[in-house]
Amino acid sequence: MDRQEPKWIVKWLRRFCDQDLIEGIEGDLFELFELESKEYSTSKARRRYTWRALGFFRASFINKRKSITYQLTTMLGNYFKISIRTALKNKTSSLVNLLGLTLGLTACGFLAQYIYQEWSYDRHFANYDRIYRLTLDMEFGDEMTKLAISPSGFGKAVSEKAPQVEAFGMLRKFSNFQFKKGTELVKTSHVYQTEAGLQNILDYQWLSGDSQKALSEPYSIVLTQSLADKLLIDNSNPVGQIITRDNEDKYTITGIIADPPINSHIQPEAFISLSDPNVVNQMDAWRWVTYVKVTESFNANKFAQSLADISTEIFGEKGGSGRGKIIIQPEKLTDIHFISDRKFEMETNDGNRIYIQGFSILMILILTMSIINYVNLTTAQTHQRLKEVGVRKTFGAQKMQIISQFFFESGLMISLSVVFSLLIILGGQSLFQSYAGIELSIFEMLNWKAILMVVAVLLFILLFSGIYPSLKLSSIKAFQKELKTKTNRFRSILILFQLSLSCLVLIGTTVVYQQYQFMTSQQLGFNQNQIITTKMDDVAIKNYWVIHNKLMQLPEVKTVASAEHSPGETAPINNFEYNTKDGVKKVVCPHIWADQHYVEALQLNIIAGEDFEDYRGNDGKRIGVLINEAFAEESGWTPEEAVGQTLKSGTSWEDKIIGVVQDFHFVSLHHAIEPMVIRHIVGGRDLLIKSASTDYQKLMSEIDQIWQETAGTEQAEFTFLDKHFQKQYEKDQKRAELFAGFSFLIIFISLAGLFGLTTYTVQRRLKEMSIRKVHGASTIEILSLMTKEFGVLSLLAAFIAIPTAYYVFNAWLENFAYAINLQPILLTLPVLLLMMLILLTAALRSYKVVRVNPAQILRNE
């Protein structure tokens, strides 16, 4: 008989099975194999043998002496049991640990989303690290104007002259396109015109149509999915359909792209092709944003150098038509959201890397606090576990095993917190998203990199929270009965660290909040209340006087004004010249256009000269300009001197200053008040209605009616100017609130830690304090003994935190044009408050000692 039983499975079986059983098992298997090899082919018998042998891999046959899995599961089972028992024995500290870690992880989960959304701006484009936006800095006299836009031929010119540029792209934004859908008009505010090669620069996800050819023919349009849904009557086969604009231009749909992600600096609704392919060669239309893609062997320094040469080549040494020198500034695609605040941006870039950094630091701090709590509370329990570790060591436990036991305990605690915080995150997700303005869904953020990050962070937490307790506990000797009391120093340092940070954070929150309050309560210099505003379309502008007169007849309406640019918007920049004794001087500053009711509507103060006058009507003749105080100051005139001076701009425009208005904050309080010129216009795009009553509902319905009668069917969207103005601070407010919320979390976690520690100290010193009481110690004495440690530590923390806070927040406040002063009270009051809270926490817990009857504690000694 040839023995061809499969040897490998026998080998594994031998390794797995109990030593006493294996011979019988092998024998039986062999016997059956021999029986069956007579009956079946050898291979079938072997197969059946293997199958049968596999049946022996079950728990009941396991070799308990050798199997690592068996030993591990038993050991882990024991660790688990002990962990649970210890946790239940010290309910307060387990609860504090669990709470701290759960809150910490939850906060991190939320913060991480915020950070991710901001950080990931424009990173969804395939070649995001090789795409630059080319912007221009223009010199006007002494001042520099930073433009986001450039001439239409710029991109092509650069790509031809710079060898490092591989491709170029260009965009022009139309914010007021209306398309016809049957008889309805569909408004769009983000239509971009682009040349054919867009996909090579900014790759969107094409749902249909040919991405390479779609935009090569004039009057082609590529819609996003959501606009297609909104615009098309029959959406089943969009490509090839023709849509009509309100001015009767017809566009052929050549493609559909998926809606672009929200975290991008451009938010297109549609792309249209160039109506004249020749514009890429022309240099006179300054309305285009230019992108370039650089080659892979790109070198930033060389590129910057070649751009300087190219600038001279394209724009000339001095620039044309009265302009100064032009400097090309490349901006990395991923930087635009954070750094770019130029004139004529396509969207406001409100990202701020400081906040990303701030929130990241906050995240680390929160985690650190929870970890410190864990380390402190666990090491505080060391003496409880002397016996346990002693017994384990006596039975031959290695140091490594003890270490792994305590790591296991930390791991258990962390896993539990992860589960809880996941539940909280999932439950609170929608609330947080809408609150913090997060528009990415959690699934869009979870890619494998993010998951890897999360796992890495959790491992870090495990390492930092487990390493000190486990090393300390594993160093206990088998027969050690007492711990040296010196070991407190490390804990004190940790507490000191915690308290200093809490102080710092509390001061920070106070300062940020005060600054925010200060900014919103600042005198704007005009009355923003009870002003309703809207943007008029061309039809409404044509009928402006009709609308004006009808509105003025309403009893609730005080004033109706029109202007080009209402407060809160970015005004265009212009350069103005005027004559002085020393010759011609130049001021580069924003200017707006307004009619003769503007000053009245906003209740601006005219401090010298006069307002625009009424009599010219809308004949378009210039009737002088107003300037603000800052302009007069800049020019060195008193307001009275300024009236009557002549301003010039360019070659043809010239006008007299007729009045000076008191400074007012045209843009937000982030910016200092600049010199400003108000020029006269009638029928500007912005309509401002100053209301006398606050019964807006009635007023609005009346306005709506007038609108329908005169301005066509289209209903205008009205907003309140104060709301509109407030919008500028919305993000600030959200950030300040988020910051405050998470700061309080930090303080809460550290206070909870102190609470846990005091609980533990109370347990340990109960006897000592009872003896003191028997000997006549008063309540106050006992309380002060119990809280002394924390008192001293919080005092030290204050000494560390206050100067640091002064330094840090002074630097922060310098970012604001209008900032609060760092009064000593701002620094000390929060710290005092916190110290009181700390002592209160400790005292509350210690009060237990005061209350107990010493006889009860001492009787079983």
């Binding site: 023995r3 059983l21 019988g24 049946g55 079950r58």
Partner: protein, 110 residues
């Protein structure tokens, strides 16, 4: 004693071990159970049940002398212990008692 209950399969195998008397080892038990009851059970199940019975104290086991058969492996032989005998008796008595308790009417009806 924990787990002193005798399961149905355990009972059958214990009885088979008794029936085979001096030659009760895995394969033999398996074949005998199949022959008598028509139930196909795997060899690993047999071993597992035998081990459990031994842990409960109803069987004891030994290895017989070396042979050249079975690739030189000895047979792992089982024998019913007194405790095993008792539990089989108890089980039988319970059944007998129940059988006796059934009135004749119950099964004769149909």
């Amino acid at each position: 004693m924990k787990g002193s209950q005798l399961g149905e399969l355990e009972e059958i195998i214990l009885l088979t071990v008794g029936a085979l008397y001096d030659d009760a080892y895995g394969v033999a038990v398996m074949q005998d159970v199949e022959k008598r009851t028509g139930r196909k059970i795997t060899i690993s199940t047999v071993h597992s049940v035998l081990k459990r019975l031994e842990e409960k104290g109803y069987c004891e086991s030994r290895y017989d002398g070396a042979t050249n058969e079975r690739g030189g492996r000895r047979k792992h032989l089982f024998r019913v212990t007194t405790a095993g005998e008792n539990v089989l008796h108890t089980s039988r008595e319970i059944r007998n008692g129940l059988w006796n308790a059934i009135p004749d009417m119950a099964f004769n009806k149909k």
